[in-house]
């Protein structure tokens, strides 16, 4: 097991805990917390040396953030 894999798993656990039980129960906090496990998963993908998987995951993660931001904006304005 490489160091990236171990750190990625630790961050995945920390980020999942922060997402599931946020200190402020707001949408914005949850969206920002969602980026922490994404970085952990990125490190795990990095430890397996898959370039295409890395690039795809980075792009999809940002796309997900964009969709969630749009959704929360719409919910707040309505």
């Amino acid at each position: 097991m490489s160091l990236e894999f171990i750190i990625g798993l630790i961050i995945l656990v920390i980020g999942t805990g922060a997402c599931a039980f946020p200190r402020d129960r707001e949408y914005l906090t949850r969206i920002i917390n969602l980026e922490i496990p994404a970085f952990g998963l990125l490190l795990v993908a990095l430890s397996f040396d898959e370039t295409l998987a890395l690039l795809t995951f980075i792009a999809v993660s940002t796309l997900t953030t964009f969709v969630l931001v749009m959704l929360v904006e719409r919910k707040v304005t309505s």
């Binding site: 961050i11 920390i14 922060a18 914005l28 490190l43 690039l55 980075i58 792009a59 964009f66």
Partner: protein, 75 residues
């Protein structure tokens, strides 16, 4: 033993713990910047400079999206 990955790992862990515990959204965004700052050298050390270039474009983009929501005070 190369000590640099360990240092970058400590930076990433510090950023993620700070992001998990901070209450202010702006502080959280700064902590995510710290995580990005730790991940970028790790990716480059593995030799994926193209992935690092893509990440350098995409991480600020994601921050900009969240900042839009911060500005409107959505909660």
């Amino acid at each position: 033993m190369n000590i640099l990955p360990l240092v970058f790992g400590i930076i990433i862990l510090t950023g993620s713990i700070f992001a998990g515990f901070a209450r202010d959204p702006y502080a959280k965004l700064i902590a995510i910047g710290i995580i990005g700052g730790g991940i970028m050298p790790l990716i480059i050390m593995r030799g994926y400079v193209d992935v690092a270039a893509a990440l350098a474009v995409i991480i600020p983009l994601s921050t900009i999206f969240v900042l839009q929501l911060c500005k409107k005070g959505a909660a």
